[in-house]
């Protein structure tokens, strides 16, 4: 696995945006909806936060722009830009997930929480 030292830890929005793009390409609204689903509505990304993150993620090479196309659902008069995850993005989000898993198991051990098994 590629080392991505400068990028970890990821901020929660960046982490969840990468997760949202793990299975498919999405446009901005799609990312926002998926992030809300992942977090049970705890993280509701606003446009400024979302596109600010995307801008920096594009610059870091974690995601890339896919093509522009018509959105397939109802009401879609507009063309939208889709984003997809790069291999670097995939390895970064994996590394971050591993880091978080490590942190969680350390916490469980310290706090004596059952459930790790």
């Amino acid at each position: 696995m590629k080392k991505t030292p400068g990028l970890l830890p990821l901020t929660p929005p960046v982490f969840h945006i990468l997760l949202a793009l793990a299975d498919e390409e999405r446009h901005g609204y799609g990312i926002m909806q998926d992030v809300a689903r992942q977090t049970n509505d705890a993280l509701q990304l606003g446009p400024g936060t979302l596109y600010g993150c995307l801008k920096r993620m594009l610059a870091a090479g974690l995601v890339e722009e896919s093509d522009e196309r018509e959105h397939d659902r109802e009401q879609d008069d507009e063309r939208r830009r889709y984003y997809r995850m790069t291999p670097l993005g995939r390895s970064t989000v994996r590394a971050e997930a591993g880091r978080l898993a490590g942190a969680v198991s350390a916490a469980k051990a310290k706090l004596g929480l059952a459930g790790g098994k």
Binding site: G46, P47, G48, T49, K55
Partner: protein, 307 residues
């Protein structure tokens, strides 16, 4: 399918809010951000309850502020505003300045609570006047309304009318101003009653209890044969509200280099008591916030004080 009015309105509002972001960012992502915002609005409009709207509204404002600040690094912010700030400083220090009128001495021409812009370059000797080399200007003349530093306390700025310039002989007879032997026709002057106060209305008599430092000097050195003679380099000023004005009759002459400028335009007029206008206080701020629309005298906005 057409969006409900609310959604379209919010969309327009959001489009305006995008100007808080740097131009580059706006051009790159503005359209998408608007799409996203609209999608969210539609989603919530379908839901139809008030709670989600509230949460969405607060969330959007927080997102807007936080991300706009993040995209605009402070340094960039300073860069972008530097020119504006410099211009602003330049203009307010040398060209125009804002003053508030705390007393009624110029009523009904200028009221208590009028906020004035003062033209600082129109007069010769108006303040620190290097600009007179470049811009048109003239000497202060009789009848001008001037803003000037109050000689008894230079921290205060007064607004009065010039009645006499250097060399003029002035006295008052039963409220009538007589300058160099001529009765002045003063349509702007206002009197509050018929009663005659000798000091005030038959000036100059003799210094009395009300006479301030500069006024005592004036009585000592500049009164001859029942007339005040305006010394070189000074002005004799009176308020239009003639019977209620603390003016040259009480504190003497205005050195011409104390003149700040000429009241240009009333940019805001707010009905407030003198004390609140002199010393700024929290209660006044609250008062303005609560009564801005009702106690602003809209008809006085952008009025030019009659000369």
């Amino acid at each position: 399918m057409k969006d409900p009015k609310l959604v379209r309105g919010l969309g327009r509002l959001y489009a305006a809010l995008l100007y808080a972001y740097p131009r580059e960012f706006r051009l790159q992502y503005g359209t998408e951000m608007q799409q996203l915002f609209r999608d969210r609005c539609r989603e919530i409009a379908r839901d139809g309850r008030a709670g989600p709207w509230l949460r969405f509204g607060l969330g959007s404002i927080a997102d807007w502020i936080a991300s706009a600040l993040r995209e605009r690094r402070p340094f960039k912010l300073i860069q972008e505003w530097a020119v504006t700030l410099l211009l602003f400083l330049f203009v307010t220090t040398t060209m125009v300045q804002a003053y508030v009128v705390p007393t009624g001495s110029m009523e009904n021409n200028i009221l208590v609570g009028d906020h004035l812009l003062v033209d600082k370059v129109g007069f010769e000797n108006g303040g620190n006047n290097w600009s007179s080399y470049v811009l048109p200007h003239r000497q202060v003349k009789r009848g001008d309304i001037v803003a000037f530093r109050y000689p008894e306390d230079v921290r205060q700025t007064f607004v009065k009318r010039v009645i006499g310039v250097a060399g003029d002989h002035i006295h008052l007879k039963d409220k009538q101003v007589i300058r160099n032997g001529d009765k002045l026709d003063e349509p702007y002057a206002r009197h509050s009653g018929q009663s005659i106060d000798d000091y005030r209305d038959n000036f100059p008599t003799a210094a009395d209890f009300y006479t301030l430092g500069g006024g005592r000097d004036m009585f000592a050195h500049n009164v001859h044969d029942g007339e005040v003679i305006v010394p070189p380099g000074t002005l004799f000023v009176l308020g239009d509200n003639r019977d209620n004005s603390l003016d040259s009759r009480y504190w003497g002459f205005v050195p011409i280099n104390y003149v700040v400028g000429k009241p240009l335009v009333i940019y805001w007029s707010y009905d407030a008591p003198t004390s609140d206008l002199v010393t700024w206080n929290l209660a006044h701020l609250e008062d303005v916030a609560l009564h801005f629309f009702t106690r602003t005298r809209w008809n006085r906005m952008l009025k030019v004080p009659a000369q």
